[in-house]
């Protein structure tokens, strides 16, 4: 028997877990103890070893010999021959970041796909039994819906909860085993996250042990009892979540203090105006007035659906504008197409990197130069060598880590992909740079570099409009923040910017008509 301390029971212990990939130590002798009934968060940047840990626990990836797993009161077992079947038998239940749910199928069908369809005579599906069983599960987990309703009719957070219920349904009691959630909120819009977290807190209160993997710090702080931070395959520490601040976590994850993550803004600000927007109406925008100063980072705080993305798109000529007047550097500016916007010196980094920015399958070089090819075509010859050397310069200027500029862009990590997209625009020295969630799916380390690149650009005279959902990050990164609500700018907050104040302003109802 392992030496268990007198305190709370241990649901799962990991002892001396290591994993070597091709000579690289991805996980270095990890010790982890998860108490029964606690929500234990596992945090870390990319390559920190958290995914490796989860994969070993799931039995998908074999650990190096020597590591041990202890489940509840049972004898320690070697982690090198752990299998998915053993993990399941031991009560480990996994819900992955893109839960395999089927929106077109009913809730009951989704649940049955995780267990089995109850059968009637002749092997037909006993729908009545299935619906009854599903209704009972939905009730137990407090999801208010009919089992016959299509999953798509549920809100996003509840769809995720159905995936969780599916994973948990075949257990008899709420206390056994461990529910392991791998970035469950990754695919959820911000507004849905709270709903899911509340449900998780409910499960935990009922005695469910949860191992919660995420890189959204605010979530972790709001839901976890204890936090383990990994860095470079090693455990930094396990700490109580009570009283912990985001800044502390960032320091643990990155290994350096927060003020180096968000470079501080220059103290003096100019009053020179780069862009003025008057009475802009487009889709959800009902008359936006906004002034962007030269060389500043102007944050836009707004809830999902507030029109923040549409604002950026209409400035870039990629969203139909109904009315309004704009001036860029004192001259009238009417963006009719992305081409016109680019010609005027506007650059735009869209929110969805995969769907709207990356040319996957193409090289890093082709991605950097996308849209600028004609500048390398002279006298019927394509100047490949010149393009290549320009690309290599941009790679080093914009801190992109690649083996070669000919490398396919999709083999890069998320942070480096984002830096490629940023570099595509920054290398043209735009007058105005529009950024929609530039740190989406990027860990804290790369995030620091992205903000460093933004500051470099503003020092060279670029003005930036920045949309970021996380109020804390927005407050740190912006010189001023404009609050967008009900299709209008309701307030402009000057430094010092308080994140809680921003959250309030985004949500409050005053000032809207």
């Amino acid at each position: 028997m392992p030496a268990v301390m007198a305190g709370p029971r241990t649901a799962l212990a990991v002892r001396g877990l290591s994993k070597t990939y091709a000579g690289n130590l991805a996980l270095d002798s990890l010790f982890l103890q998860i108490r029964s009934g606690e929500v234990h968060a596992l945090l870390g940047g990319n390559g920190s070893g958290k995914s490796t840990t989860i994969k070993i626990l799931a039995g998908v990836v074999p650990a190096d010999p020597g590591g041990e797993l202890v489940l509840g009161d049972s004898e320690p077992v070697g982690a090198h021959d752990w299998t998915p079947a053993k993990a399941h038998a031991a009560g480990l239940r996994f819900v992955h970041q893109q839960p395999a749910v089927f929106p077109e199928l009913s809730i009951a069908e989704n649940l049955a796909l995780g267990a089995d369809f109850p059968r009637g005579a002749g092997g037909r599906i006993d729908w009545r039994a299935l619906n009854a069983r599903s209704a009972e599960l939905l009730e137990r987990y407090e999801i208010h819906a009919s089992p016959k309703a299509p999953l798509a009719s549920l809100r996003a957070a509840d769809r995720c909860r159905v995936a969780i219920v599916r994973a948990l349904q075949d257990r008899d009691d709420a206390e056994s085993g461990v529910l392991i959630l791998d970035e469950p909120t990754a695919a959820l819009p911000a507004a849905e996250v709270d709903h899911l977290l509340e449900a998780l807190r409910g499960y935990a209160a009922a005695g469910q042990t949860i191992l919660y993997v995420s890189h959204r710090l605010d979530e972790v702080l709001s839901v976890a009892d204890r936090v383990t931070v990994l860095r470079d395959g090693r455990k930094v520490d396990t700490v109580e979540a009570e009283g912990l601040r985001e800044a502390d976590l960032i320091e643990m994850i990155v290994g350096r203090p927060l003020d180096r993550v968000f470079p501080s803004a220059p103290l003096e600000t100019t009053e020179d105006v780069a862009l003025t927007i008057r009475g802009l109406r487009a889709g959800p925008l009902h008359g936006v007035d906004l002034t962007l100063r030269k060389g500043e980072v102007l944050g836009i705080a707004g809830l999902l659906g507030s029109g923040r993305s549409e604002l950026l798109r209409s400035l870039f000529g990629a969203y139909a504008v109904d009315a309004g007047a704009m001036k860029l550097d004192g001259k009238d500016y009417t963006p009719t197409s992305p081409q016109a916007a680019m010609k005027a010196g506007i650059a735009y980094v869209p929110e969805d990197r995969q769907a709207e920015a990356l040319l996957s399958g193409e090289s890093v070089r082709a991605n950097l130069m996308a849209g600028q090819e004609s500048s390398y075509f002279r006298k019927f010859l394509y100047r490949h060598r010149l393009e290549r050397s320009d690309a290599q310069r941009s790679i080093s200027d914009f801190l992109i880590r690649v083996v070669s500029d000919a490398q396919p862009v999709e083999t890069l990590s998320g942070g480096n992909q984002q830096k490629v997209v940023m570099a595509r625009w920054l290398r043209r020295r735009p007058k105005v740079l529009l950024l929609d969630e530039p740190t989406q799916g990027v860990d804290v380390g790369a995030r620091a570099e992205i903000y460093q690149l933004i500051r470099q650009a503003t020092e060279q005279g670029t003005s930036v409009i920045l949309v970021v959902s996380e109020p804390e990050e927005l407050a740190h990164a912006s010189d001023r923040v404009a609050v967008l609500r009900g299709g209008r700018i309701t307030t402009v907050v000057e430094r010092p910017i308080d994140a809680h104040k921003l959250t309030e302003l985004m949500n409050s109802s005053e000032g809207t008509q």
């Binding site: 994993k19 929110e351 769907a355 193409e362 394509y382 490398q407 083999t411 942070g415």
Partner: protein, 377 residues
């Protein structure tokens, strides 16, 4: 709306081994973010995958079709059933000349395919241009060059219709071009009343279909010229690069200022012009206008292009690969015919090669996805 990056299911293998871009792993799930080495210069680690064996396997993969081509060539040159006829100048000339029409069609279709579209009507466009050119010579007194230019322009015109329908109606090009292909057949049937045009074709045209220059058939020179043109267009002009960008990610291409619709419509016009060239070559080879259009031309062109994407720049449609694929198909079909297999081998081999090429692309892409998944920690 946030979509985290995931490996594209249709992502195809690249010519680079999945390399380590940074420390410690290259991930395909960007959801957990970027690298954890924010400081310091890029570190290139030469792991075990940079060995001679890895290099060898890359070469093997990149040039597998070339090896297969050489192997089948050697086979038919030495096999007792075929060796007496296969390796003769005349037989090789006939074999390569037989690929000229389909080769020009394949290179043309490549232009639309690179931009993520394709054209099932190329064969019928070529057939139309062939019979129309013959008619213009025989019944409307067109001169040699007037007829050739008109034949090519007819192809470009129909390509333009395809392009407008695809970009304005925003309907899947599969449906549109299947429709135009059928409409062309009907038009040709009505226009020709199913009559061949044997008289009135300029001798210069039919001689061009038979003569050689420096021991190589004239029409193969045309194929070579078209190959160089398409290669230049796709790899060495901004327009070609834009087509690649559109094929990779249409929304992203639009947001970097590429005029997507215009570029795609233009690709269909270019494709149509090359189909017109193919039509004139058909006329030159046959020496007469034929109202019966071979039904499998477009499918063979697709097979050639897909098979071509499995070599040289693996996973990417490319001209050299396409040429090798065409030769591979020609050598095997000719060889098997010499060996006594009946004519049905033509369609059979082409169809199976198409399936094989697509299956190969799927396997290569899967292999890489697995590799990347294993490496993400």
């Amino acid at each position: 709306m946030t979509t985290r990056s995931r490996p594209r299911p249709d992502a195809v293998a690249s010519d680079l081994p999945a390399q380590r871009a940074d420390d410690p792993v290259v991930t395909n799930t960007a959801a957990s973010g970027a690298t954890n080495a924010p400081d310091g210069p890029p570190v290139v680690r030469r792991g075990p995958q940079h060995t001679v064996a890895a290099f060898g396997s890359r070469i093997l993969r990149q040039y597998s079709l070339v090896f297969l081509l050489v192997a089948s060539f050697v086979l038919y040159s030495t096999w007792s059933k075929t060796s007496s006829v296969f390796l003769t100048g005349d037989s090789l000339r006939v074999m390569v000349a037989g690929q000229a029409v389909i080769g020009v069609l394949t290179l043309g279709i490549l232009v639309t395919m690179v931009a993520g579209n394709f054209d099932l009507s190329v064969g019928n466009i070529a057939g139309l241009s062939q019979i129309m050119t013959a008619t213009l010579y025989a019944k409307h007194g067109f001169g040699l060059w007037e007829g050739i230019v008109a034949g090519i322009l007819i192809g470009g015109f129909v390509g333009g219709i395809n392009g407008m329908l695809v970009t304005i109606l925003r309907v899947d090009p599969f449906i549109i071009t299947l429709g135009t292909a059928s409409a062309i057949l009907g038009f040709v049937d009505w226009y020709t009343k199913d009559q061949s045009i044997v008289n009135g074709i300029p001798a210069a045209i039919s001689n061009f279909g038979k003569d050689n220059l420096l021991g190589i058939p004239d029409i193969v020179w045309v194929l070579a010229l078209v190959a160089v043109l398409v290669y230049y267009l796709l790899e060495h002009t901004p327009y070609g690069r834009n087509l690649h960008a559109i094929g990779s990610n249409r929304a992203a291409a639009r947001l970097v200022g590429i005029r997507v619709e215009r570029s795609i419509a233009m690709a269909f016009v270019i494709n149509g012009l090359f189909a017109g060239v193919a039509g004139v070559l058909m006329l030159a080879r046959a020496g007469a206008g034929n109202p019966q259009i071979p039904p499998t031309l477009a499918l063979t062109a697709l097979a050639g292009a897909f098979l071509g994407a499995a070599s040289f720049k693996v996973g990417r449609l490319n001209v050299p690969g396409t040429i090798v694929a065409l030769l591979f198909l020609a050598v095997n079909i000719t060889g098997l015919q010499y060996a006594g297999v009946a004519n049905w081998i033509n369609e059979m081999f082409t169809g199976l090669s198409l399936i094989f090429a697509i299956a190969l692309a799927a396997v290569l892409s899967k292999e890489r996805t697995v590799k990347k998944t294993r490496k993400s920690a």
